[in-house]
């Protein structure tokens, strides 16, 4: 059956902010779906709260709503847009759960919206662990023995038949959040309780453990003719027990005999039929005992997933694109295979290379958090590598991880290393390779970690001779879905090493521009940079050149072969990039859009004589070298916070007092504010230096800045063509300076900086842009204190806020920057004089992963910790802020009990917050000091115990659910301090917890605004239309 003509308008749900377990892969799949459905002539309505996505670019849908992914707002969109159908399978678990909710609350029926892709029952059968189990049993498939519990007692009763160790899995959570492995009975109580709390339906599944079995995933697609194909098999190198998202995985499967693999294939097909996913892709996970050849079904996801994105990139088979076509009526055989053009999509890709995926972790940012890997996902990103052999792919994947600090185990002997392997942790393969170097045998390693000997033999060879896989010549080969059986049309390449180079690259006569991507997502460098790279590719193509993309992140839109003219799936190291430059001979290379990753290569590329487009490496160095940058500011007559650079503890202490406390201290070499701290005295400084002695080995520089307390932080994104400067956006942070710009909420346009100040900011920014000689983008961070303007730093590259600003003002900054880098002049691009005079306010809020990391302090600081961001748009600041909070997952309460406890210096401010909340009818509870301060101003406040003062204390209150809002400003993040306990409890129970006064005040005002009912929803297209009109009016 061809295209359905009975539906015209289709609603697509995105997956919202980047969180652990739900990352850029859903932007990739969403973009593909939007493209396909528009090509098919459907009207597309999109809802996604994440501004950093390509899918939310206005041109990808007919109506784009950057609104919270919650039943209320989405129902409002439905009521307004009246779509005929909802496609819920492309926005991850978020979209699936949301679709379920909209069905259950009757919204879909009320507005006559049909679920396409997966219907309600299919979703329920796959997502409700109990239903799923019954479904599997009916289909004659086996699962681990298990029990369901909705209380700890029920769980204890079930212990008998599941036994220990036991896998505890909360129903309906993402990436296994809140689950875990219980080895002892008290573990068991703890993990079950945590799981019950994490599950939106208060249900946990208790599974018989098959720890140590092989873990396999199959990506399945089915059409409404019931034709089913397996797109890809993925083998987890890590055995069962390490979440697939945290496992190193390989495609295709390596260790199963054909007989056994075909049994898996048969079962995967049986699963998708039994669950009844009528069209589209699903991911089925299996546990396989290699010896008894027993197969157990672990789970299935009735939607595109992280693994399906990986499978698409690994095979060249675009699962999301095809899923979207299937959802609107096409059959697999009616859809051509993009890559061969001549063959239909109703086939199974076969590959003639090996793909390895590596997770990227961020434990270094969460002191006190264990880096052990278990059944709930902890990685924040991933890198993929393709090679002709497993060793090539694995070694390339190692390079692709781009670890800031490489782990050294020189002091550990083979035995110690082997012991370390018994508990899988983030660095397990580094440990393993070291163990092999120190003489460990394959048998011994297998003993300890259960990884299949096939992999271990390969890894041992790699450890002993890391160069072996790369002997011979680099040879660029194509990814073609068919192992060269047919001619490939889609230029998607990887480097393999062969005896003789046999490149398969076919170039036209257009000159090419290479865009360097940003590598694996990590905290501080995420999807925002991929967004910019994709915009660069679009612009380069529009400019009549071939856009050539180099990146190694399988989640992203940039690594969709549709995005560029040629895609090289390669690590972003100098050597690998130069390899591509060699065969491409590009007109130029763009290093400005991929964050720090490509920027770090700029000097090396220039040294190798590679032409770089845009801002020169000299200018980059001028901005990054504090001495030279300081001199530039002096010359311009701009202020920066007093600072000094020290190379030893003594020197630091000497400068410390000269610069003046409080000080912001950090080692020179780290990014994203790593290891940055605020110290208030010599003792504090000494303590910091001692603690970080390890990380800043002797001679390493230490930066000391005067810390500007309670300053307003401002972020500016600007364009410069070397002469003219154009200010895209001035963002005022909600939290004061001291909270990393990536973690603080910000508002555009600024709501409380006077006109003179804004003018000074513009003038400073222009001065710096010209002073540095920026050609392209510039981001400047300022602190405003007591009417003074201080420059904190300038980054001559795309910043994290580019997508947010572009969406807020309706002008694609990255694209314009790229045109400038290709030679255009700003003055020829007729940009509005004043982009921000739109009649709406945009708020960006950060989304933090504290709830994924047991033991992490949920407090904000100068070191960035957020994984993602959301955007709230409204006519006024409070409403926009409220939307942003809701979208970030911490919907503000309309009323109830507010708990306030703040440091003495914050008490005056706290009173103002208490006042507003009181007027809103909140019951105010506070710890003694704060309560007194509040009562002194005649506001009733109940006193409750600090943790130290005995139960029932504040944490009990929070855990009992008697608190609806927490305002707590930290008294220096002493681990396990009261504040720590409070924030921890709030985060675990999902209660909004504001750790700054400014945040608290904004929240109070937002709650007031929310009183006027569900805020209106507006599409970006409407907003930008208005903005343009407003612009034209001036």
């Amino acid at each position: 059956m061809p295209r359905r003509n009975d539906i015209h308008k289709i609603l697509i749900l995105g997956s919202g902010p980047i969180v652990i377990g739900q990352a850029a892969e859903f932007d990739y799949s969403g973009v593909q779906a939007c493209k396909v459905l528009k090509d098919e002539g459907y009207e597309v309505v999109l809802v996604n709260s994440n501004p950093a996505t390509i899918m939310t670019d206005p041109e990808f849908a007919d109506a784009t709503y950057v609104e919270p992914l919650l039943p209320g707002p989405v129902a409002a969109v439905i009521e307004r847009e009246r779509p005929d159908a909802l496609l819920p399978t492309l926005g991850g678990q978020t979209a699936l759960n949301l679709a379920k909710a909209l069905h259950e609350d009757g919204s879909l029926e009320r507005f006559g919206v049909e679920l396409i892709g997966a219907d309600y029952d299919a979703i329920a059968r796959a997502e409700d662990r109990d239903l799923f189990r019954q479904t599997m049993e009916r289909a004659g498939l086996r699962m681990p023995r298990s029990a369901i519990a909705t209380s700890v007692d029920e769980a204890l009763a079930a212990l008998g038949d599941v036994g220990l160790p036991c896998i505890v899995r909360p129903a309906f959570t993402l990436g296994g959040r809140g689950g875990g492995i219980a080895r002892t009975e008290e573990d068991y109580r703890r993990v079950v309780a945590r799981g019950l709390a994490a599950s939106p339906i208060g249900q946990v599944l208790l599974d018989e453990s098959v720890l140590g079995w092989g873990e396999f995933e199959l990506e399945v697609m089915r059409d409404h003719n019931d034709n089913v194909v397996i797109v890809c098999s993925i083998e987890n190198v890590d055995p069962m027990g390490v979440h697939t998202g945290d496992s190193v995985t390989v495609a295709p499967q390596q260790t199963l005999t054909d007989r056994l693999y075909q049994r898996l294939r048969d079962q995967a097909i049986a699963v998708i039929r039994a669950v009844g996913v009528e069209t589209g892709g699903s991911n089925v996970q299996f546990a396989v005992d290699p010896v008894s050849e027993e197969i157990l079904v672990i789970e299935m996801n009735p939607r595109v997933s992280r693994s399906s994105a990986l499978a698409s990139k690994a095979t060249g088979f675009p699962i999301a694109k095809i899923a979207a076509r299937l959802a609107v009526g096409y059959a697999l055989e009616e859809i051509p295979n993009d890559i061969t053009k001549v063959t239909p999509a109703s086939f199974e890709p076969t590959i003639d290379y090996v793909v390895v995926k590596w997770p990227r972790f961020a434990f270094e940012k969460f002191p006190g958090v264990s880096s052990d890997l278990t059944t709930h996902m902890k990685s924040v990103g991933e890198a993929m590598a393709i090679g002709r052999t497993f060793q090539q792919a694995f070694a390339k994947a190692l390079r692709s991880r781009e670890l800031d600090s490489s782990t050294a185990f020189s002091e550990l002997d083979a035995d110690a290393l082997l012991t370390a392997l018994e508990r899988p942790a983030a660095d397990r393969y580094d440990v393993m390779l070291e163990a092999f170097r120190k003489g460990a045998t394959v048998e011994a390693v297998h003993e300890r970690c259960g990884v299949d000997p096939w992999f271990l033999r390969e890894l041992r060879e790699l450890a002993l001779d890391p160069d072996a896989p790369f002997r011979g010549e680099r040879s660029y080969k194509a990814v073609d879905t068919c192992a060269a059986e047919f001619e490939a049309r889609t230029p998607y390449f990887y480097s393999g090493w062969e005896r003789r180079a046999a490149h398969e690259i076919e170039k036209g006569d257009r000159s090419s521009v290479i865009i360097l991507g940003s590598g694996p997502n990590r905290i501080g460098q995420g999807i925002e940079f991929d967004y910019c790279c994709v915009h660069a590719a679009m612009t380069v193509r529009d400019a009549g050149r071939d856009a050539v993309m180099i990146n190694c992140n399988p989640e992203t839109v940039s690594t969709d072969y549709d995005t560029s003219d040629r895609l090289y799936f390669e690590p972003l190291t100098l050597e690998d990039v130069l390899g591509v430059v060699d065969v491409e001979r590009p007109e130029g290379v763009i290093v400005q859009f991929g964050g720090q990753t490509p920027l770090k290569l700029a000097a090396g590329l220039q040294a190798a004589g590679v032409p770089l487009l845009g801002t020169s490496p000299e200018a980059i160095d001028l901005a990054e070298d504090r001495g030279r940058f300081g001199a530039l500011l002096d010359r311009l007559g701009y202020q920066a916070p007093p600072y000094a650079t020290a190379h030893s503890v003594e020197e630091a202490l000497r400068c410390g007092s000269k610069v003046g406390y409080p000080l912001l201290v950090r080692p020179s070499y780290v990014l994203g504010g790593r290891a940055m701290e605020i110290v208030y005295s010599d003792d504090g400084l000494r303590d910091y230096l001692v603690r970080n002695a390890g990380s800043n080995g002797n001679g390493r520089e230490i930066f000391l800045d005067r810390f500007l307390e309670n300053a307003i932080e401002v972020d500016v994104d600007a364009l410069c063509d070397g002469e003219d400067v154009w200010i895209g956006g001035i963002m005022q942070h909600v939290e004061e300076a001291g909270i990393h710009s990536g973690d603080s909420a910000c508002v555009l346009p600024p709501h409380s900086l006077g006109h003179q100040m804004l003018d000074r900011i513009r003038e400073h920014t222009a001065g710096i842009a010209r002073g540095l000689g920026v050609v392209g983008l510039l981001n400047v961070q300022y602190a405003v204190l007591g009417g003074e303007l201080y420059v904190i730093e300038a980054n001559p590259r795309a910043s994290r806020t580019i997508p947010f600003v572009s969406k807020a003002i309706g002008i694609p900054l990255a694209k314009i920057a790229c045109r400038v880098m290709l030679g255009a002049r700003l003055r020829d691009l007729d940009l509005p004089a004043e982009p921000m005079r739109a009649d709406h306010v945009s708020v960006k809020e950060a989304v933090l992963p504290f709830d994924r990391f047991e033991g992490a302090d949920a407090v904000l600081g100068p070191e960035m910790r957020s994984t993602g961001e959301v955007m709230g748009v409204a006519r006024d600041f409070p409403t926009a802020f409220a939307k942003a909070q809701a979208a970030a997952g911490a919907a503000l309460p309309a009323g109830g009990t507010a708990f306030v406890t703040v440091t003495d210096s914050d008490k005056p401010g706290a009173v103002a917050i208490a006042q507003t909340l009181h007027d809103l009818g909140f019951r105010i509870v506070a710890t003694r000091g704060t309560a007194e301060a509040i009562e002194r101003m005649g506001i009733p406040a109940e006193r409750i115990n600090k943790v130290g003062e005995g139960s029932p204390h504040v944490v009990d209150w929070i855990e009992r659910g008697d608190v609806d809002l927490v305002v707590n400003t930290p008294t220096g993040s002493g681990a396990r301090s009261d504040g720590w306990e409070i924030r921890r409890a709030a985060v675990t129970r999902g209660i909004p917890c504001l750790t700054t006064l400014s945040g608290g005040l904004a929240a109070a005002r937002a709650i007031a605004a929310a009183r006027s009912g569900e805020p209106a929803v507006t599409s970006l297209q409407e907003l930008h239309g208005r903005a343009a009109r407003a612009g034209a009016a001036t």
């Binding site: 054909d258 007989r259 063959t343 096939w454 060269a484 059986e485």
Partner: protein, 373 residues
């Protein structure tokens, strides 16, 4: 030790010798299946062929008896990118390379198999060989030249058993003309309650039906169907009285028996991922493929554009084209309508490959039982 692959057109690819210390010549072909290397090597249809495995790692799970598709290796050599032995793999009874050595089969690894495959894809399957370095290219060229080309080659006689053997003891008796039958075909028939007679391919019609079998089965096998006129003649005597079924070469032979031509594909179909459409039900199966020749459609065209069953009349009444390959739209199966009979070009028995089409064996046996009753 160094070794190399040389093709008749002079193209050379270097690698290292593994497996038996010998050289081999024959037709160089490639298979795109990602697993099932041992099944392929022991499949009689690969007689006189050197198999290039497009998947780089071969040998990952060693070798075992259950993976044998006949009692010996028929392929002449294995051409690989990254061969491993894996004697310690769970379920392995022997390491892959040890096993090749035991079987006296030369092999080569470290070859840029993708470059080789791309060459064959554009130049077509051709004669060639695998040679240890000590053999000079000049000698090698002569050895290759001495190889007959596949076209017109009767290889059935090379692989067929010397005399009749009988397998299983089920309620239905199937007489198979053994032009190189795979064990998994026999296994699938026997599992479903068949007694299978394996006749030498030179058996006369009288010999084949001597024991009054309930059906005749035409096996897979190597070589050019056009060279098997004698089997086709036998076949023409057998069609009618009892159901006739065939797989692969058997399909080509039945097609010739009902008047269709066969032709050599440029580089054949060998792999486990070809989509085949059943023109009657519209269903698509992912199939296991292994053939270098194919059947010309009833209209005389090598490809079938029609998407519904094509009917035409033959010496044995009406016939219907039942299956088509969605990759290149070549003929994949036919059904005889007035007499019981049907064939498929692909391999429903898998071994290696997907099990999507196993149901054909059930259908086959049901038909026999119905016909018998």
């Amino acid at each position: 030790m160094g070794a190399y692959v040389l093709l008749e057109d002079g193209t050379r690819f270097d690698g290292e010798a593994c497996g038996a210390d010998a050289h081999a010549t024959g037709e160089v072909v490639f298979t795109t299946g990602m697993s099932g290397y041992q099944e392929s090597m022991t499949d009689p249809s690969f007689a006189r062929q050197l198999i290039t495995f497009t998947y780089p790692h071969v040998g990952n799970y060693g070798a075992s008896a259950e993976a044998m598709e006949s009692d010996r290796v028929w392929a002449r050599a294995a051409i690989m990118r990254a061969a491993v032995n894996r004697e310690d793999a769970p379920g392995a009874e022997r390491g892959w390379l040890d096993w090749l050595r035991d079987c006296g089969v030369p092999a080569i690894t470290g070859v840029d198999t993708r470059a080789l495959v791309r060459h064959i894809r554009s130049a077509g399957a051709m004669r060639g060989g695998v040679f240890p370095e000590r053999i000079s290219e000049a000698e090698a060229r002569e050895l290759i030249a001495a190889e007959p080309s596949m076209v017109g080659l009767d290889l059935a006689r090379e692989v067929t058993p010397p005399e009749l053997t009988v397998v299983g003891d089920g309620d239905v008796r199937i007489a198979a003309i053994d032009t190189g039958i795979k064990s998994s075909i026999v296994r699938n028939l026997v599992q479903r309650g068949a007694t299978v007679e394996l006749h030498p391919c030179t058996a006369t019609a009288a010999e084949v039906v001597a024991s009054a079998p309930d059906a005749v089965f035409l096996a897979n096998g190597p070589g050019d169907p056009a060279a098997l006129g004698y089997v086709v003649d036998t076949l023409r005597e057998l069609i009618g009285p009892r159901p006739v079924f065939g797989i692969c070469l058997g399909h080509q032979l039945l097609s010739r028996a009902v008047g269709l031509e066969t032709f050599k594909l440029p580089f054949g179909h060998r792999g486990a991922n070809h989509p085949v459409k059943d023109l009657e039900t519209g269903r698509i199966e992912i199939t296991s493929q292994n053939h270098g020749f194919a059947v010309v459609g009833p209209g005389g065209a090598r490809t079938v554009d029609a998407d519904e069953p094509v009917r035409w009349s033959t010496d044995f009444g009406e016939a219907r084209l039942s299956h088509v390959n969605l990759y290149d739209r070549t003929v994949e199966g036919l059904t005889l309508l007035d007499v019981a009979g049907g064939t498929v070009q692909y391999h429903p028995e898998a071994g290696p490959g997907p099990n999507d089409s196993l149901y054909l064996f059930d259908r086959f046996l049901d038909q026999i039982r119905r016909a018998a009753a």
